[in-house]
Symmetry: C2
Subunit: 404 residues, 2 copies
């Protein structure tokens, strides 16, 4: 019962416009991989309405729809990731939550999830919401922050010793959110296979930007994000899993009404019946899929790495700037320690905001406002011309403040 | 590692088009309330990319974003529903799941959720996934299927007697999915208040199409659906709740990394950090909000009921057709028992499909294929001209098969 009139509300919500990607080069680290392809944009317009994908739903499950070809798409996606089956989820975080939830039911005595210490916060929250414990595999610290896969073995052994039980799940972040470091899943997969512990790869930044081969890398579960790295409007996630876990992940409802006797034996428990991606999220993911397949092939992946490393080469001339994380970059998510910019911020009238504004003046956006000690950006999908403009902007700003 | 080439995949996924609402009058019962407003459609185009709402995220939480005005919108939405606070969720089903989850933690001895026997399947699944038990309040059965609010009292008493504990939660479906029956929340709210049991209203079909006043109706939790009834692209849900439950619903993370000491004290546990509605879902909901407020006011609501009842008046002349559920309709979701059509289907070359095809030939779509014993549709938001066309189509088909 709001007191505001339609007219007042209309004025208030009339300006929901956005020109970020038209007017600027957007280097926001979480946005580059989720920019729509032209095909996805067309599909978005066609399927914008709520439940628009459900026109021809015959079985009460979006993953069973044949028109548009969802069933076929899921097969193609599983094939692409080289894993037995994929299910749609609300987001990669949901994929992780669901994997832990079904495993916790399968192995009620196992209480610990072993993760890399650069895991995304949603990995920790998925552990927490499932009432599980977390054990981190350390990283090498400043400035490279690398994970040694062999450390997984000792952490698993520690858990086994202390708890008398194996970990419930081992998780590796394929590309971490902070330094954009690439971790090879295979050595961790091998350790997990030897222990007989399920292995989940969090591919939120990599599924859709880098090649992934779950069978080769001994991956049991994979979590991907449509809106983060698969050029989908989202929110939409993928949970890929080995056939061994199909019964648990796809477990259907067993509850029954005590009066009505109603039951829902076709509905999947873990997603509350039907994966929640009824229109724009799924159709844009499907429309972008051919491009996703193409852009994760060797040639294009190498080109994207080359662009990221080109920027780094150029800006390494700047005084007081240091790239954190492994070099050369494989994934273009980049973290810079920018001590010299931080020093300038101290006496700058705009304080920490100055850097974002300098970039904005040069047509570049996506750097977090107010932070000048550390910058995170991604060059994913920028053209060479934009890459050069970005490098030049860095150098120009450095020159302006005598850091060249 | 799919074997298909980009060209093959492009051809396969090139035809993700949809003209349902351009070429037909769409009476699909779950789609009418989720059709985008023109304002939402514009916003969808502007915010189509993944994470497009996060340009100006300063606190790592979408519900804290000030530009676009998410914070203000959440206040306006709470005001509109007349409840203390609202949080964004993935869907109404998630809102129910989360309410049960936080209550189960607060009252570990209470194990039963009391629901109406016409509750949506996702209500049952939310109970199941939380490892709780369900107790149904009966309905009056054929043909009206009404719920007597007083029965809530006896079912709550039964639970109390058998389990020595109150139910964890009482749930009422405001408009049920099957017959579109309207249930007044207030008498149930009063009973819950007397027992001291939290009361949740499932407003998936009503929040956005009917007026709702949570304080007046003694509602503790409300679940709404953006894509079902608030003209949003979705998926997006609303969980409204009384201040009393704010600490539980909005509980922030307490987990800590054992090596890194990382913690996430700003992230909300129940939604795995940040409500998962990063672009199109939320912006379309915001853009449609002024219309939502307007269309739930008395005049427009009465007009929608009038349209639904007009169709019913017209088609009640047809032999062997009976409206199930309460009459006159308040919400336009309508269920017809169509015995005479079912008899025709037996000998029709197209069997049960004939009815959908007859309607399709008359420019009307949205009736489930293959079912002719029962039809569900919604007239929500159709123009009077479309309403008349729909009534005439029914009568024409009846005449063609000698049922007039």
């Amino acid at each position: 019962m709001t007191d505001l009139t339609y007219k007042e509300l209309s004025q208030k919500y009339a300006h929901l416009t956005r020109n970020v990607n038209e007017e600027f080069i957007n280097i926001h680290p979480i946005q580059r991989g989720g920019l729509l392809t032209p095909e996805a944009f067309k599909a978005l317009i066609a399927f914008g309405d709520g439940y628009s994908l459900c026109d021809n739903c015959l079985k009460g499950r979006i993953d069973k729809i044949e028109n548009p070809p969802v069933v076929e798409f899921l097969r193609d996606m599983a094939n692409f990731l080289n894993i037995d089956t994929v299910m749609l989820t609300g987001a990669a975080r949901d994929s992780k939550r669901i994997a832990m939830q079904v495993l916790a039911k399968k192995y009620p005595n196992r209480k610990t999830v072993v993760i890399d210490s650069l895991a995304h916060y949603t990995t920790y929250l998925a552990v927490e919401i499932n009432n599980l414990k977390v054990r981190e595999v350390p990283n090498s610290g400043k400035p490279v922050y690398s994970i040694d896969p062999n450390d997984y073995e000792s952490v698993i052994n520690d858990v086994l010793k202390e708890e008398g039980e194996l970990p419930l799940l081992v998780l590796l972040t394929h590309i971490d959110y902070k330094y954009g470091n690439y971790n090879d899943p295979k050595p961790v997969g091998k350790i997990c296979q030897d222990f007989g512990v399920p292995f989940l790869l969090n591919a939120a930044y990599s599924g859709g930007t880098l090649p992934i081969d779950c069978k080769n890398d001994l991956i049991d579960f994979i979590a991907c994000s449509g809106h983060k790295s698969m050029a989908a409007s989202g929110p939409i996630g993928i949970l890929g899993f080995k056939e061994d876990f199909a019964d648990e992940v796809m477990a259907t409802s067993r509850i029954q009404g005590d009066v009505s006797s109603k039951s829902f034996p076709r509905k999947i428990c873990s997603v509350l019946g039907c994966p929640p991606v009824y229109g724009a999220p799924l159709i844009t993911l499907m429309a972008s899929f051919p491009t996703i397949v193409k852009r994760t092939q060797k040639e294009q992946v190498e080109e994207e790495s080359k662009k990221a490393n080109h920027v780094i080469d150029q800006i390494s001339k700047i005084k007081g700037i240091k790239v954190l994380g492994k070099l050369p970059k494989i994934h273009p998510l980049t973290n810079l320690k920018t001590e010299s910019f931080a020093e300038i911020a101290v006496n700058h009238p705009r304080k920490g905001f100055f850097l974002r504004e300098e970039f904005k003046d040069r047509g570049i956006i996506g750097i977090l406002p107010g932070i000048s000690k550390e910058i995170k950006y991604s060059t994913y999908g920028l053209t060479w011309e934009q890459i050069k403009h970005l490098s030049n902007a860095f150098l120009e700003i450095a020159e302006k403040y005598n850091l060249a």
